[in-house]
Symmetry: C2
Subunit: 837 residues, 2 copies
């Protein structure tokens, strides 16, 4: 993406030529002149002032009169500790962006950096452009301060409401994965990612460093990780901050980076810190460009290793194909830097005590009030703001403008740059189905062919993520069109691995999810293919993304982004040898807890319905779509036209599987959702018909699970009239469901006929097992479903015992075969429905 | 723990003296004589043979006749790739254990190493001791082979059924955390943890290396990580295997370990590999003991850093207090080592193609059948097994015996060594409650005092884990009795940090959960305190542990272990500035999906009930207990005796809050579960009484959520009669619930009066908000509950409008106060119930 250059013409600070000088002369700081650094410092002071103001003030925003306790909020909430460090980094990035016209995205890892993001967005003007009631004047400042951590206001962490943000503060661990996701296929972008030393302890973050093995310097942008060690979490020191530099450097070099340390030795000598950071930042960005240029100018080209001195040793070792050693910064600065040094005789700046609100009890303690005023005045607000309350023009002039502002970059409002995905023609990839239930096709294999076409049509804005399971989930046809991206060593034995590719495989569900979120939030498309049971690994990441989408949908300035699509396979009903640890259909339950505006769940029963659903989902916006489908060869039911119609409806009577009399109500309804339950329900209907030819049996298949819910509770919900038309108001309904049975009750408990609904689903049974054995153990097999139906039809009361016995005998026989031979009998794997009988 | 020495007297292989020689002379292998290594190799061959047999054979287990296709299973399932490496390591550990009488626990990280664990357990005799039908003879071998990955048999990964295992294969990432959990407070134990290079890519594993900063060499045992790089996952190379050795060494040194490489250069020269590994293993265990002895002999003693050459530099740098640099091994060996080199012209050994079943289609391909026979014969089974089918005595003699066998160690069957937790007297820590609803006490602060006493009474078998939230969750009183363990640098500013302690704080929910699981599974007690919303991070870990417990309960040889106790606070109703990202009560829903035999959920409404619940949970066995309680000062309701009784019942009418007439049914029932909903429900009852003094209102509080369920579905479930007695069969019930409202419907949908049940709960609303604002947004506030009740009582129809309006006015007024002043009005924060009115 090329962002239009709108930077102030007069702004010449920190440009490329002097920057290159800095690189050549090391970290002496000669690259940036002192005046520019003074301006950076002024910006930092202003941002810090606004941050303290947000936490404390409800009036007197410019200290135009002495601070009174009535100016201070009654409840003091928010987090100061991480904020000055974030403001420091932001100010320096601004200098670099303005000077180089570098496209940058700012990712705020530290959870409670909200005041910093909001302060900088206001200083850049973006905040007032979006939220006109928070203007560039004293009244706007007062509003800026008051709304922070206030009922109905803005939270104390980065959130969708925060301009320039794509990473929610709150649950920690995903910033670096988001940064990489943003950088993929954005060759001009540098994602500057601030990682707090608290966040760095999380597993997902610790694993995210390995993302460099999946970033293609030729076609992707870059990530500049800035590990911000301020030493403390809420109440503890951090593991990384308490490592000796030498060991920390080894850790990061081991991860494949070139670490550059900036250590604030004397918190009072801020200009020394500015010089050091400015020079280091220039060095790092130069090095990023050098890595990119080398690779881009020489396609077969050089690769890099980290030398023992921590510098890139590419000139000496051109033959190595280790992952490029990208630069990163380790900033050691005091927690709560520039805040109160001591409070009540205890050290605060530089300790965990500055994590939240360093000065409390302002209303009861005039000394604390005086200390707060002194702290605020230490930034010299009179020098920073005009009489009207705007930022002084000279300070404002150093910032980038227009879309180069990190608070305004379209990368952080991905819908602005999202292009429609080109979707291959459905009919071309749909499979022929002459009659239902005759042929077996793996729905996932077929989907893989279609995904290959998606990849071909969209060579640089679609990615498929998977935790080493793309082929295991039978999507391997996608490799006819693309490769798996891999920046580490390549060996002759490797297949489908290449320096660039649309498929990303790493054995980390967290990385798959985090990369995809970053990729989608910056305006692209994708899907995440995963084993159903293990997708619970990202339950909490799904939560945060769903919440993001919910708030994002309500913000008019945030443009719709592509949906996050889960393709869940290797599901609970076909685990064979994998057994109990691989069984869990509960992700659907987890998803359905989130807002109806955001979540969709699909259970396509065969190849064509899976294709129709995927086609629909990949076109959609602002949702999380969960698609569950089997990977084994399975019966096909619907031809392409039928599949499209059925999926558009989301639910419907399957007449070919039903035994009804026109104009009459059925005696019993068999509902089904999910591929294996559908086979069993259709088979049960046939068994019932064979046992009792006059019985009127209706089979209803559900593709779109949300159709079961009330239309008032979900936009896809059926009206009561439509629901009653399908399920009747009084006849027994036996429902075979893919997941935990109670979800069906939850979705339907207000329906007229709910009292007659009997749901069969997964009830946590089965270690090592075959598919039929598994169905048996959970009482969802065809025989049991038929028995259940017989038990519920009053007209059959007299014949119940005999019918039951016959079905029980067949059930037992089939099961004995499985247990004896280790595989299912043909009676259950074979099939006879179709035109023959 | 001191395990009785039952090792064969005649076995002198690999003892300490020669081992020390090996250390001094480097990795020449001089430490272990060739005969011993030949025996190790024979064990390895036997284990490999048994592994291949499990995957392929259903008959002819000793190849006493030519292999026929009828001897081979029809469905070939299971995983060969990782197995020979696991067998290799196991054989070497056995030599070391037998020689040194070293207590060791074997943790199998690679997901599908099941054949290896089972094979070694059979070779050690443990398998036949536990499962008598799988004896030490040909018929037993046949059964061993057949049951593997067979319906009703054993899964292809380590599982509760596998002797010696505490780490489920399946979902990857937790082996190293489990190993550390096992090592804590077990000073004589070395937990040997094999980490697959696939697993090493996961976030949780990447974060687990930092566990060394929390292991106390004086009082804890040691972990010996063995990073097994066989290069490939299911279908891809691995990130760590494709790193140059130099970079990988830096990574592990950066993590704080001393890496020792063993690289199998020539897969055919197995004796060279044995020599190399044996010497390295001796070096590592010597180094472990040296670290321990140094620290244990000198309490104020030395600490260690990793020298630039990868060796411990403690002699030179005694003053550093960096974390001790524990040794670890990096084993590079071919995937599927000793398996088919090529199949159908494609390389298999040493590639991902050996991940699962290297030779398929045996029944249709006589060449493959011949290749399988050749492969099996390559281990020379005739040399390994007696005529009867037992392991040759000379090979068997090298193994440890009795409880030193890793398949029989009590560390892996923790219930065998579990000691009852000493529980402090409830009454001493319960708070005085003169009248309900008068005083405010933080239930968590009070619990912290009790936990301090638990710690004092149980100084070495109880731990409290928390992701930097112990104090934030207000359990800080525990620091009066103990410290937070911290093995990294200590600074003067630190508080409650020490080299040993009962509290473990790391900003990783995965580590907290993984450590605790390892600690509990090896026979100790503990709890995990976490913010409610972020405990979803370990959803999938909870799943695996709950599944483990379910199967474990069914195995008579597995002894009951202490329950896993979650203390969830900082919950959804009191998030203030944290807002939306911190809100999620869905962990309860997730938990309730698991088997009733395993899960318990408690929502104590005040300080004494929390104490009673915690007392109960810490005494319990084999459960997962979820306790949700607020941390803010909150009203107390029940005195100690009432609290004990109420918690024992789990549910009950609160007469002090009800307005009933003896012997008559109420007009309306207000149910509540959770501390905030309880306040609102009690207040609503009072509002109703004030509005309409004659109205009969019953208040029911639920502590034990499972009481709501049918007794047939959960052991704690109420009978229908008892339920109807409480909730009536026809009166309106307004239920205020802590979490998502549909869970209450799910638990009660078969109850007689379910049609009259109206549940209010969290419905995903609220960004920045106060407690009352939050209750309002979710319609769970006292005014709305009272209005709901009025709307449902038929007798009030004529007065509805007036009553409604009055309550609506008060509701709006309270809400306006909140929005204007940023804090809740006294009308809702104050309280008047008690003896005054």
């Amino acid at each position: 993406m090329a962002i239009e250059d709108q930077t102030h013409a007069g702004n010449g600070s920190g440009g490329s030529p002097s920057t290159l000088d800095a690189t050549q002369t090391g970290k002496a700081g000669s690259g940036t002149d002192e005046h520019t650094l003074e301006m950076v410092n002024a910006w930092w002071r202003a941002a810090n002032y606004l941050s303290v103001g947000q936490i404390y003030l409800r009036d007197n925003p410019l200290l135009r009169r002495r601070l009174a306790s009535s100016d201070v909020k009654t409840r003091l909430l928010g987090h100061w500790g991480t904020t000055p460090g974030l403001n420091f980094i932001y100010a320096h990035l601004n200098r670099l962006i303005a000077g180089r016209k570098q496209e940058m995205l700012f990712i705020t890892g530290p959870g409670h950096g909200g005041p910093a993001n909001v302060a900088n967005a206001w200083l850049e003007g973006t905040y007032s452009e979006i939220y006109s009631h928070v203007g560039q004047e004293e009244a706007g400042l007062a509003e800026l301060f008051k709304q922070f951590s206030y009922p109905g206001g803005v939270p104390s962490h980065a959130a969708p409401e925060t301009p320039g943000s794509i990473n929610e503060g709150g649950e920690l661990g995903y910033s670096l994965a988001h940064a990489y996701g943003a950088a993929f296929d954005n060759p001009d972008l540098i994602a500057a990612c601030v990682i707090g030393d608290g966040e760095a302890e999380t597993g997902p973050l610790a694993g995210s460093w390995h993302s460099n093995a999946f970033l293609d310097p030729t076609h992707d942008g870059a990530v500049l990780p800035i590990l911000h060690l301020n030493g403390y979490k809420i109440a503890n020191p951090t593991v990384l901050a308490r490592m000796p530099d030498e060991r920390l450097a080894k850790l990061l070099e081991g991860y494949g980076y070139q670490p550059h340390f900036v250590t604030v030795e004397d918190p009072g000598d801020v200009m020394a810190a500015h010089r050091d950071f400015a020079a280091t930042l220039d060095t790092c960005v130069d090095e990023i460009h050098r890595v990119q240029q080398d690779r881009r100018s020489d396609a077969g080209g050089h690769h890099w290793t980290v030398g023992s001195d921590g510098t890139a040793a590419h000139d000496e070792e051109p033959e190595s194909d280790d992952t490029p050693a990208w630069p990163m910064i380790i900033l050691r600065s005091p927690k709560g830097w520039t805040g109160p040094g001591e409070v009540d005789g205890k050290p605060v700046e530089g300790t965990w005590r500055s994590h939240q609100v360093p000065l409390a009890g302002i209303h009861d303690d005039s000394e604390h009030l005086a200390q707060l005023e002194q702290w605020l005045q230490s930034y010299k607000p009179d020098e920073l703001f005009t009489n009207e309350g705007a930022l002084q023009p000279e300070i404002a002039a150093q910032a980038p403008s227009g879309d180069l502002r990190m608070s305004a970059t379209p990368y952080a409002n991905g819908g602005r740059i999202l292009k429609d995905l080109k979707i291959p023609p459905f009919k071309k990839y749909a499979v022929d189905v002459e009659a239902p239930g005759r042929e077996r096709i793996s729905a996932m294999v077929n989907l893989g062919k279609w995904l290959a076409a998606v990849v071909e049509l969209n060579p640089n804005n679609f990615r498929l993520m998977g935790p080493d399971e793309t082929a295991s989930n039978r999507l391997q046809e996608v490799y006819t069109a693309t490769d798996k991206v891999w920046e580490a060593e390549l060996h002759d034995v490797d297949e489908h691995l290449a320096r660039s590719g649309r498929v990303m495989e790493v054995l980390s569900e967290h990385l798959c999810q985090g990369w995809l979120e970053g990729y989608l939030l910056t305006g692209r498309h994708g899907a995440f293919s995963c084993y159903e049971a293990f997708v619970h690994i990202v339950d909490s990441m799904f939560n945060q993304h769903a919440k993001w989408l919910k708030v994002h949908q309500q913000l008019p300035w945030r443009q719709p982004i592509a949906s996050l699509n889960y393709l869940l396979s290797s599901h609970v009903w076909q685990q064979d040898h994998n057994g109990f640890s691989h069984q869990d259909p509960g992700f659907i339950d987890h998803v359905v807890n989130k807002k109806a505006e955001v979540v969709r769940v699909y259970l396509p029963p065969d190849a064509n319905t899976l294709l129709a659903v995927a086609d629909h989902c990949l076109r959609s916006r602002d949702y999380v779509n969960v698609i569950v489908a089997g990977k084994q060869p399975a019966l096909t039911w619907l031809n392409p036209e039928q599949a499209l119609l059925h999926c558009a409806r989301g639910i419907g009577v399957w007449e070919f599987a039903s035994y009804e009399v026109a104009g009459e109500e059925p005696d019993v309804v068999l509902g089904c959702a999910g591929d294996v339950p559908t086979v069993e329900a259709v088979a049960a209907a046939q068994l019932l018909h064979e046992s009792m030819p006059g019985l009127k049996v209706r089979v209803i298949n559900v593709v779109d699970l949300m159709r079961l819910q009330d239309e008032k509770e979900h936009p896809h919900g059926l009206s009561h009239r439509d629901f009653d038309g399908l399920f009747t108001t009084s006849k027994p309904v036996i429902f075979a469901y893919h997941g935990y049975p109670w979800l069906i009750h939850r979705l339907t408990y207000r329906r007229t006929n709910h009292g007659n609904l009997h749901v069969r689903g997964y009830i946590e049974e089965g270690t090592t097992t075959t598919p039929f054995d598994m169905a048996m153990l959970n009482h969802i097999d065809r025989y049991q479903l038929a028995i259940d139906a017989i038990d519920q039809v009053p007209a059959l009361a007299s014949r119940q015992a005999g019918l039951r016995q016959r079905l029980q005998d067949r059930r037992l026989k089939a099961w004995q075969h499985t247990r004896t031979h280790g595989e299912d009998t043909e009676e259950v794997t074979g099939w006879t429905l179709g035109g023959d009988d």
